[in-house]
């Protein structure tokens, strides 16, 4: 569409449709403003009312999630959520998707995803101290996969490495259903003084609205609308809607913002993310109960002759909007000049509750600011409950147990992701206590002995098979991973990636997953403080696996009590917490050795999760454990393999005689952990477990250079290692 249309042109049905607005939504606009909108106004409405910005299909259900606990300082609704970690310190974090852009232009799409989430965190006055990401790609044989993987990984690294945040954790998964819709979910964690968190509501009439950071260009126009529609085969033509990232500018913007915040000049601040200037200005005004008047001739532009429409919809990166204390304008300007960034007063706050935009002396938009957000459509989309999967009845034992173990240990989903994370700077800031490969990443709070544990989890095939249990499982696994390093789980951010919500079966999956997430969050006192919804992840009518990624944060009060998964000492006893498993539905075993994705996922008993997890955490803090790992994908045997490979020392394991050995090894029952301790602690630990109502059994001993499953198989560490480490680099090296 031509961007140079005059402003007073007639709005046609086609234009309305091109802006992603349904006829009834357009009628709502006419009713609201009592006249035909100008072209710029139509653009503003499309930016505010698309799915990405308005949450119109999801809001009703998001409201059902628990968002409070004793540690929550700020819940959903701000740039990011905040939790209290004591000593007047707060952790500010959020996860956000950049899915559609990462398919269209993998490097920039992923890079700007990282940039956007970092900005959300430092907008609130927090210095980012850790980044994580969960990536989902098509099946290994998908022809675009390597292009997408190399581009996304390089983009995530390229941005985070240059910005200077350690990228410490995440996940990488593969499935046919992500072909044409790979997912990039980026999470950032920042540290702020609890009494100096900066928020978006503007305060005071006639205060300067200041534009900071990089210049505005034509990149990303309609980015948020693009993210609110399905792909067809013309996805490549959408490349111009992807923004281009500049991590150097963002690093300067970070330093300038934090320096400025120290001066007390900042009254309100909002980063320009989706729908740029429009969303940020409306958010600041509406949440503060004020109008905003902008003069677009003052906006620093990178390109010539940009129209009002283009400026209001540009998603150029590394930009911020602030309301400043007028007395400190000069101080603020000096800081931004020092960092080589643009600083421009582009408008002021008003008392008329209007969003008034001026360009070349004309008023090109004048809209009710509060209603722009509040009156956005909200839908109770029809949904149908998914049908439960039949149990797997014809389970077959492997003909060769060793081969089966190697297949599971080395499958695309379960194999080591070293090839990915070695492209990320995991160490910068000098506080990284656990790099990727463990249950959760751990970074120290600088200058203290406290640390933050974090992880990102979801098992999409479980959610597909049973969205309610799968939603519960994603939260439970996240909680378990934090527990396994010894942390108190604090809160989560949820990144809900689904297909087209206008289809009742997709909406049903979404609704049930939210119900599951909510139930687990309530049971585990693990509230949602921030999040993001990404819908319409479909290409030609084919949806992704439902993927509610859960990013969790926990606190280690004392780093000396941190657990790691590596086996440490020859002769240590191996104890299984939570009992032997029997559940094989949706297991890695079925998928990796038999190509079957069948059955219901393992049910999650939240009561057990809590009891078993609390027991393990207390045990870690008592100093009696030498290694701890949770059991998830791949079952007991993958947990043991991880522990052995990390410690470069093997184990001798006994499996109960009355069960089929392969079921014991591969079952994915929840609420379970493997831990090690010195042999003289075993009796006491098992006795304590019994009195806490926690199943605990000694299953073997740390020893030798192989994983010995007595009476069944002896698998050398070398074989395990090459299965685990080689798949991804070999795959990426193939032409």
């Amino acid at each position: 569409m031509s961007a140079h249309l005059p402003n007073d042109i007639k709005i046609t049905d086609e234009m309305v449709a091109e802006h992603g607005l349904k006829p009834d939504e357009y009628q709502r606009i006419l009713d609201l403003i009592g006249r035909e909108p100008t072209f710029t106004e139509l653009g503003i409405f499309s930016a505010m009312w698309n799915e990405h910005c308005s949450y119109k299909s999801s809001k009703l259900w998001l409201k059902t999630l628990p968002t409070e606990s004793e540690c929550v300082l700020i819940g959903p609704g701000e740039n990011a959520g905040a939790v209290d970690i004591g000593d007047n310190q707060a952790i500010i974090f959020k996860m956000e998707s950049h899915n559609h852009p990462s398919f269209i232009e993998p490097y920039q799409g992923a890079a700007t995803g990282v940039g956007g989430i970092l900005r959300d965190v430092f907008t609130m006055g927090a210095r980012p101290i850790a980044a994580l990401n969960s990536l989902f790609f098509g099946a290994p044989d998908y022809d675009k996969n390597k292009h997408l993987i190399s581009g996304v990984v390089a983009g995530v690294g390229g941005y985070g490495n240059c910005f200077g945040v350690p990228t410490v954790g995440g996940s990488v998964n593969f499935h046919k259903r992500y072909e044409g819709n790979n997912l990039t979910n980026a999470m950032a964690i920042g540290l702020a003084d609890a009494d100096k968190i900066f928020l978006s509501p503007a305060k005071g009439v006639g205060r300067p609205v200041v534009y900071l950071g990089a210049k505005t260009g034509r990149d990303g126009i309609h980015g948020a609308s693009m993210a609110s529609a399905e792909f067809a085969d013309d996805a490549d033509e959408k490349r111009p809607t992807v923004q281009v990232g500049d991590p150097f500018t963002e690093k300067c913007l970070l330093e300038a913002c934090l320096e400025l915040m120290q001066t007390g000049a900042v009254i309100a601040i909002q980063d320009m993310g989706a729908a740029g200037l429009t969303c940020s200005a409306v958010e600041m005004g509406a949440s503060g109960g004020l109008g905003v008047r902008l003069d677009l001739n003052k906006v620093p532009c990178r390109e010539e002759r940009m129209t009002a429409y283009e400026m209001m919809l540009s998603e150029s990166q590394e930009r911020m909007l602030m309301v400043l204390d007028p007395a400190k304008e000069k101080i603020a300007e000096a800081i931004f000049i020092k960092w080589g960034l643009d600083f421009a007063i582009v408008g002021e706050t008003t008392d008329d509750m209007r969003f008034s935009i001026w360009h070349n002396g004309d008023e090109v938009a004048n809209l009710p600011i509060k209603e722009l957000g509040d009156e956005a459509p909200e839908y109770d989309r029809p949904w149908i409950e998914p049908t439960p999967q039949a149990p797997v009845t014809d389970m077959q034992a492997p003909t060769d147990l060793t081969q089966a173990v190697l297949q599971v240990v080395g499958s695309p989903d379960n194999c080591s992701k070293r090839w990915v994370w070695e492209q990320y700077d995991q160490l910068i800031q000098s506080n990284t206590a656990q790099v990727p490969g463990g249950d959760a990443a751990v970074v120290r709070i600088n200058g203290t002995n406290k640390a933050i544990a974090s992880c990102a989890d979801v098992t999409p095939r479980y959610v597909e098979a049973d969205p309610f249990e799968g939603g519960k499982q994603a939260v439970a696994e996240c909680w378990r991973n934090l527990t396994a390093v010894g942390a108190d789980p604090l809160a989560i951010t949820d990144n809900l990636n689904f297909g087209n919500p206008e289809r009742p079966e997709i909406m049903g999956t979404f609704v049930m997953a939210i119900k599951g997430i909510g139930e687990a969050c309530r049971a585990l006192n693990f509230p949602v403080v921030s999040g993001n919804v990404s819908l319409y992840n479909e290409t030609n009518g084919k949806a992704i696996l439902p993927t509610p990624t859960i990013g969790g944060v926990g606190l280690l009060p004392n780093l000396d009590d941190m657990a790691t998964l590596a086996f440490k000492n020859d002769g240590d006893a191996i104890i299984l917490i939570g009992g032997h498993g029997t559940h094989m539905g949706q297991s890695s075993y079925l998928r990796d050795t038999q190509g079957r994705e069948e059955g219901p996922p393992p049910p999650v008993d939240l009561e057990k999760e809590k009891t078993n997890g609390d027991f393990v955490r207390n045990l870690i803090r008592s100093g009696d454990t030498t290694a701890v790992h949770d059991i998830s994908d791949g079952g007991l045997v993958l947990a043991l393999s991880d522990m052995a490979l990390a410690g470069n020392i093997g184990a001798k394991i006994e499996v109960p005689r009355d069960e089929e050995a392969f079921v014991t090894l591969f079952a994915e029952d929840q609420a379970r952990y493997v831990l090690t301790c010195s042999p003289d602690k075993v009796t006491q630990i098992i006795r304590n477990a019994e009195s806490a109502g926690v199943p605990a059994t000694k299953i073997g001993t740390v020893t030798s250079t192989a994983l010995i499953i007595q009476g069944h198989a002896t698998i050398s560490l070398n074989m395990l290692k090459s299965a685990h480490e080689d798949w991804l680099p070999n795959y990426m090296a193939q032409a």
Binding site: G164, P247, F248, K251, E422, L427, I428
Partner: protein, 219 residues
């Protein structure tokens, strides 16, 4: 030991370096902004790692032409000590204070992992507490660390003991010639290295192998 840390926009490992210098070397550090034209009274100048000017144009090229560099060259000419780590090494190479070039890693990817370094010259201000032949574990984190220099200069560097660190045990992460990880100038008072010893100095980092390097500064 009075130490000045140079701050260019885009550098991001300055706090890591300050922590190591203050905690291990016991150095008093002060930060010098790149637009300054003179150095404060200092024994050692450190240019830390990061992405000065976003690595635009060529790593270190823009920083090498900024106002403070003239003062740093004068400081070195008078025998003052200069240490450049990672982007700091690239900047020293771009100013011509150290010979050679740091090209894109051979596999074209950013790499962050632990390598083994062998100390090749124990007579410098950064290695005096170690012995030639000692091996230490040290992380790298860079995209452009592939050291290259012409054959004649290489011969001279090798012959004159100007190779300070080499990647050992097959851990060369970037394709550097002769496994070179760090070099010094002919006088030995200017050192540049790609790895990050500042990230291997306390139990939290897994090992404390690189403490002796910072202890050397204090000596």
């Amino acid at each position: 030991m009075k130490t000045a840390i140079i701050q260019f926009p885009g550098l991001n490992r300055e706090s890591d370096m300050i922590m190591a210098l203050e905690n291990v070397s016991g150095a008093k550090t002060q930060t010098v902004w790149h637009t300054q034209t003179s150095l404060p009274d200092t024994d050692l100048v450190v240019i830390p790692g990061g992405f000065s000017y976003g690595d635009y144009l060529r790593c270190g090229a823009i920083a090498a032409r900024s106002p403070i560099m003239k003062a740093i060259v004068e400081h070195a000419n008078k025998g003052g000590k200069v240490l450049g780590v990672c982007n700091g090494f690239q900047i020293l190479v771009e100013t011509g204070m150290l010979r050679g070039a740091l090209m894109r890693n051979a596999n074209l990817k950013f790499v962050c992992k632990q390598v083994t370094l062998s100390v090749e010259n124990d007579s410098t201000f950064f290695t005096s507490k170690m012995n030639t032949g000692d091996q230490v574990t040290c992380p790298v984190a860079h995209h452009d660390g592939n050291y290259y220099v012409d054959d004649e200069t290489l011969k001279r560097l090798e012959g004159d003991g100007q190779i300070v660190f080499r990647y050992a045990n097959g851990t060369n992460p970037n394709g550097s010639m002769n496994d070179i990880a760090g070099i010094c100038n002919a006088k030995g008072n200017v050192i540049g290295m790609m790895p990050h010893p500042e990230n291997m100095i306390e139990a939290l980092h897994g090992k404390t192998d690189c403490r002796p390097l910072f202890e050397s500064i204090a000596a």
